[in-house]
């Protein structure tokens, strides 16, 4: 690996992230933290999202249609099935796209629900303190002490295995992460001078929360939300892999990986392609989450 000929100017970084470099006009932070990996991740994410959105619009085929004559077609051999077929001759490309759509749908909706609930409870915890704080923190602690996979299996048995239950479970797994972070932030913010001053001026609790507290915790929430979408996509695929998430024949990357296990020695692509898609998507989201954290300079996740 060739070393760069000119040494990089050693930039002094202060706590709030301003970089002091003499003679060089400052660039915006989001650009300074940008590198080839971030760009690549953004491109990958954009391509994958537009591909799975497009499949809903142009509907290239039925993800559950079987073709026994085309069973176990390897990828890149038959132009009718660009990524090959599974053991019942279903088109893997179409199934991958539909599976990705469900993953993103669950990841985004559950993150929105979990964020709203978690932030609300975290603000209540940190702002009201007292017994409300004790109760909310206790419930969060109990839930975090339960192995979530077991909790999910039990809930799926009680409420059935549907998309709504899966989204609910994913949101359930989300809220304690937020409530803890938000509680801590609010606890320290509420003692700050600008909040004390607002209260002294007669501002209502609602005003303080919406105008002073929430804007100040928006950055960590945004970073947490990005990372959380990736985490939920992993959770959903894990549950579907165990058979308690998305139910066959509806494709999900998790149940597709599970499907292909039996034929792994003869048809590697059935499990491997959805696994690769899953890795690519979560890696892209993770990379962008890291970038966002550096840009916004918050210490979460």
């Amino acid at each position: 690996m060739a070393k760069a000929l000119t040494p990089k100017p050693t930039a002094l970084r202060s706590r709030n992230g301003t970089t002091i470099q003499r003679g060089i006009p400052p660039r915006p932070r989001w650009l300074r933290e940008m590198n080839a990996t971030v760009v690549l991740a953004a491109v990958v994410l954009l391509l994958m999202v537009s591909a799975v959105l497009l499949v809903g619009v142009i509907s290239p085929g039925d993800p559950t249609a079987q073709s026994l004559r085309a069973r176990l077609t390897p990828p890149l051999i038959n132009p009718d099935y660009p990524l090959g077929t599974d053991s019942t001759g279903r088109d893997l490309l179409i199934r991958l796209l539909h599976g990705g759509r469900i993953s993103l749908l669950i990841g985004i909706t559950a993150t929105i629900i979990g964020t709203i609930v978690g932030v609300a409870l975290g603000v209540i915890s940190g702002y009201a303190r007292g017994w409300l704080d004790e109760v909310i923190s206790y419930v969060a602690e109990v839930q975090l002490s339960l192995p979530f996979v077991l909790l999910a299996i039990a809930v799926a048995l009680v409420l059935g295995r549907s998309l709504a239950v899966l989204i609910g479970l994913a949101a359930l797994s989300t809220w304690p992460i937020y409530s803890r972070v938000v509680r801590g932030e609010v606890l320290s913010l509420r003692e700050r001078d600008f909040v004390v001053a607002a209260r002294a001026l007669g501002a209502s609790d609602a005003h303080i929360i919406t105008r002073h507290l929430l804007p100040n915790i928006a950055a960590p929430i945004l970073v947490l939300a990005t990372i959380n979408i990736g985490r939920i996509i992993l959770l959903e695929s894990g549950l579907s892999f165990l058979g308690i998430g998305i139910q066959p024949p509806t494709p999900s990357w998790g149940n597709m990986i599970s499907d292909g296990r039996e034929v792994l020695p003869v048809a590697w692509w059935i499990s491997t392609l959805p696994a690769l898609a899953l890795m690519l998507l979560t890696l892209a989201i993770g990379t962008l989450g890291d970038w966002l954290r550096d840009v916004l300079d918050v210490a979460v996740g």
């Binding site: 192995p147 077991l150 039990a154 695929s237 894990g238 696994a275 890795m279 890696l283």
Partner: protein, 313 residues
Amino acid sequence: MTGVNLARFLAFRLLRTLLTLLGVVALTFILGRLTGDPVALMLPQQATLEDYNRMRAALGLDQPVAVQFVRYLEGLTRGDLGRSIIFQRPAAEVVAERIPATLALGAPALLLSVVLGVPLGMWSAYQRNRLLDRLIAGLSLAGQSLPSFAIAIVLILVFSVTLRWTPTFGSDTWRHYILPTITLTLYPLAIIIRLTRSSMLEVLNQGYMRTAAAKGLSDRFRATNHALPNALIPVVTVIGLQVAAIISGAAIVEAVFAWPGLGTLAVGSIGGRDYPVIQTIVLISAAAFGIANLLVDLAYFAIDPRIQTAGRG
């Protein structure tokens, strides 16, 4: 920190852990009973209503849930965790038989992730933005982003199916342990590397590091006696959380490798509505998590005796 304060702090933490365990037990008890009726699953098709009622009574399931719960708690205080409905043996026995298999995966996974993760994270921080750092950072982001079962599938494909170095599933020889342990280690390892690195970078910028360098202390001494203890505090917290991640991860890894541990037992018990076994497994996992967090609190003292315990909870 004086001994009295430490004792009071420990007593407070222990009480909190017990309260949390009580909540876990109650939640599991209620949720378990909502999932369905074990008797209906066990009896053959031609069983009569009389058989059904007799069996329910024999298992104590004819009582109101509140009564069942009080009885269960009474049993717990005597160390009685109930009888498995499926195996017709004490639940503690059924679960205890499976613990070594899960421990044989989980303990090395936790140990490896700490023993490898902390030095790699430190190294990465010292090599900041060089090739090695970028490599470690990329791999640890991957380790954190990739689902364990997908990693397992790829590992099986490469090492078992293609190279034929390791068996695909089971737990008979030492070779069987390689892939499940690697699979289970990757996630906590990635988390610990990432956190050690960022925590270390934060510490290296502190004024006392510059002071130590100005005093002429050696690089090695500064790294191990100044930087590491300060950087380790957030890392230790996250090690406690990894115990929960490993327990949850074991359920999926065991399913992939058909590993005869707690995870497969738990999944099977929920399917068969074997409440006492489920409750025992959840209780043990939650207790392990609670103990890990207590140890984390104790570790704070060892690392930094100045840490004020009064405000933590």
